[in-house]
Amino acid sequence: MLFLTAARTAEQLTEISLSGGLLMSVIGISVVFLALVAIMALTKLQSAIIVSFQNKRGQTDAAAPAPSAPAAVPASTPGAVALFGVEDKTAAMLMAIVADEMKLPLNELRFISIKEVQEGN
């Protein structure tokens, strides 16, 4: 009731009581939680649908006869790494650090891209 009355005009809001302000705060944080819980549910639903769809397609692809044998990829080829705002030397250092931290040889890791993250806000 208070919320609805308060929402009507800004003039009325300049006179709200402390209890009105407290109620507004409770409603406010509840709205934030409800909105993000709903986004969480939607995200889970979206992921579930996409993953199941991709799994199904994967099974169909696997069942279909392969037109030709895929070319063998040498185990030691990590592929090209796209660099955005990072120098080759820095990228090589980062890849070495990741390999060291994961206790895996570099040829068992595949780096797709390395990008410098800049502070946005």
């Binding site: 409603i27 406010g28 944080i29 993000l36 986004i39 969480m40 995200t43 996409i50 946005g120 806000n121």
Partner: protein, 399 residues
Amino acid sequence: MNVGKVLQDLWETSGFNNLFVHWENAVMVVIACVLLYLALVKGFEPLLLVGIAFGMLLTNLPLGGLMHMEFYQDKVVDYGRVLHEGGLLDILYLGVKLGVYPCLIFLGIGAMTDFGPLISRPSSLLLGAAAQLGIYCAFILSFLLGFTPQEAASIGIIGGADGPTAIFLTSRLASHLLGPIAVAAYSYMALIPLIQPPIMRALTTKKERETKMEQVRAVSKTEKIIFPIVVTLFAVLLLPSVAPLIGMLMLGNLFRECGVVERLSDTAQNALINIVTIFLSVTVGATSVGWLINNDGVSVGFLSLNTIKIIALGLFAFGFSTVGGLLFGKLMYKLSGGKVNPLIGSAGVSAVPMAARVSQKVGQEANSSNFLLMHAMGPNVAGVIGSAVAAGFLLSVFG
């Protein structure tokens, strides 16, 4: 020609002669220089603070005519007068006053943000929501300290730790407080590595801080493309007032993820955001005029008791937002049987990526093999959405 008269006129129309007509302006020039020192020498948020401090410097130098804050004291601004009589910064300030720049910054932030960690662990959104607690605690406290609900809402949003959101809401609800609120918001964002760690250590046990989290699953391109569309549809339908912020954030993210508009994505996350940051920072700094009288004859300059209150309330808001995120992180730690490190909760304040880096740093202090950065990025970007939703709520109620 009377040379003496010419020199006298020159002196009388010079800024030196007028610098101390209002001592408040001279003090503001000193404050601007201190902020420049912090930005240039100490490295406190230089990308924003250099512009803010220089705008502050320009607006307080007498007779420059770059900015006329008296134009914006009426409830209904006479934009014709601004265009006819305004200076350079008056014209640029229209982008702040009309809420254009914060939204364009959100476009750039969206283009720079990877929502992958959030999509792979959607429960991060709860931490992003809990870390908005400070907004409402500061709102109540501001209200108790005598601010109007509109002013209290604008002060509270500092707790969202999101500069563009704070500027967007304040320009709509309490534009006369824009200077102190923007300075407080960006100053505290720069000070996050100092503010958060003591709170994090105080509220968590060593065992909790040592918790190593499992690797999250890989997120497909399709999920990343659909996510901004789904969030926009839902959030804007729920709270239409959030459309400018969430809409631009998600558009920028769609540019990034869709893979067919590389040039637009590149422009949004580099050239556009840099240009808008220059305009925004300089004009927000220029709102901090030392001496200003409103139409009711009341002093509304930067140097007032209200500014000190806002600075203190901003710190309170930041602290409580951190507490909210950490407490919810501890709850998730318990409910998950010790699989979630509560330190990622403090990253729910939306200062991206500073807050996530602080989680990583404090986590690694407790356990050197702990890598929390990617786990903390989930709550961190959730905080951006959370603070935008909180701003949308406050705008719809108090606007």
